[in-house]
Amino acid sequence: MVFVALPLIAAFGLSLFHWDLLGTPEFAGLDNFQQLVSDTATIRAVVNTFVFALASVVTHIGIGMLLALGVHRTMTRGTKYFVRTAFFFPFLVSWAAVALLWKYVLDPTFGLVAHYLSTTTNWLASPTWALPTLIVVDWWHTIGYTFIILLAGLQTVPAQLHEAARVDGANGWWRFWSVTLPVMSPTIFFATVITFIGAFQIFDPMVIMTQGGPDGATRSIVQYTYEKGFQSFEVGYAATLSLVLFVVIMLVTGLQFRLSRRWVHQ
């Protein structure tokens, strides 16, 4: 309670004050909220976070599903073991290590990407490419988790259902649509919610790889909260920003649950 409920209430309270952590807090009313709406950097951070979250969910679920289907189908145990391990490894590596390593992987002169794709694009310094690049790095880091969850879900699909559909003359695609997907829908739903919530809270790769730049192109909500709260010491405004994150997560999660009634099989 002390570390969840109390800070939550405190965050609401703080959002009504101006405070630099040192002097006395000064009552500000709705000042912070007004600043929020007129602050273009906030809007940019919210947009970046949304783009990042949407792209993460689509790629995680899409590619994760293809992988899970592939690994589920393959017959050789060796392949299964290798692929599962290889895709899961990066998830075990801390974001700090991933972010540092990938700064080198992406280096325009001696990095792996530059060499194998034969480009000299400075991915992280480009206002156009920086955010998509972070999306790819996040994908590399986290896909193993989504993949394992989806694979576990796939393994719960009863073989008899497939048999029955086969007897009825359903081909591979049709069996996927009419059997696999409906049975797996709760798992897919869960993975979607979790990926969204995780993506909205993204912080580490921005701080380590791009510092939010170039020119705010990769700054996320959490990172902006951090900058305001712990670098420029506008504690009240930081609390207001964290409330924005809270509201966004609540709204999106609520919306997902509402929409889920249409497609998730109970």
């Binding site: 939550l8 590596v93 290590a97 792996l112 394992i148 798992t187 919530i197 912080f203 712990f230 809270f246």
Partner: protein, 270 residues
């Protein structure tokens, strides 16, 4: 035939996934002069441990590793203990408002830690705990996800078992520690692995609360090393990253089964 193609595609995908990690280790084992050559080398020749020996010159690596380990162990033990107690209470005890409190707790699952970090920072400053490892593990002792996860696990244990114990006059503590927890071992293991890994790799919290190098954990230490390296030998940074990454990869290879099972089951049950 189609199966062969599929296997090939999957294996190639797997190789691409681990390529950056192999590159990491190869460069960490290379003489500075041989490192980062193009086309990239995939086998170090001759392997050298020189870079690893230089890591302690740049950051207090052993101290940081000790801090990380200490925090991860305390967090894991604490979270397991409090989760077990709370999960038992929420599943087996009857008290007014139980289900309401539990739904509030569930809602807390989606509350981002970032929402609480500013108030907790103020709280920690007030308690003079900023820049101590206590600030890292204290808030992590109660793990909402853990309570939820273990409650699900405990609810699958037949009630007849503890009812029999109650008949014999056993206390709740006795039932929890002698009946329920021994039967929940797979669930406890899964949760333990999960919490340990999350704590070992945590960056956000230590980054905000710790500033002295000798108090930092490995992830924060690594990032500070990036600054220290500057234009210097990136191979030493690679050696340091390798030292951080390798133990957890080896642990994974040993505990692969329970690791995967823990992710799969926490995923499906959450």
């Amino acid at each position: 035939m189609r199966g062969k193609v599929l296997d090939l595609v999957l294996v190639l995908g797997g190789l691409v996934m681990i390529a950056p990690l192999v590159w990491l280790v190869v460069n960490a084992l290379s003489e500075p002069i041989d490192a980062f050559q193009l086309p990239p080398r995939w086998i170090p020749r001759p392997p050298t441990l020189e870079n690893f020996q230089q890591v302690p010159d740049l950051i207090p690596f052993a101290q940081m590793a000790w801090n990380s380990l200490q925090i991860a162990v305390i967090t894991t033990a604490g979270a397991l203990f409090t989760s077990a107690l709370a999960a038992y209470a929420f599943n087996r005890l009857r008290f007014p408002g139980r289900d309401q409190i539990f739904s509030v707790l569930l809602a807390a699952l989606v509350v981002p830690v970032q929402l609480t970090v500013v108030p907790i920072f103020i709280m920690m400053r007030w308690l003079h705990l900023v820049d101590t490892t206590v600030a890292i593990w204290l808030p992590a002792l109660v793990n909402v996800f853990g309570i939820f996860f273990l409650r699900q696990y405990i609810s699958s244990i037949p009630r007849e078992l503890d009812e029999a114990a109650i008949m014999d006059g056993a206390s709740h503590f006795w039932i929890l520690f002698r009946v329920i927890l021994p039967l929940s071992r797979p669930g406890l293991t899964a949760l333990g692995i999960f919490v340990f890994e999350a704590s070992w790799n945590n960056f956000f919290w230590p980054y905000i609360f710790l500033s002295s190098p000798e108090k930092m954990t490995l992830p924060v230490g690594l990032v500070s090393l990036q600054g220290a390296v500057g234009g210097g030998p990136a191979v030493v940074l690679f050696a340091a990253i390798t030292l951080v990454v390798l133990p957890i990869l080896v642990l994974f290879l040993i505990f692969q089964r329970s690791f995967i099972a823990s992710i799969a089951s926490t995923g499906l049950r959450g």
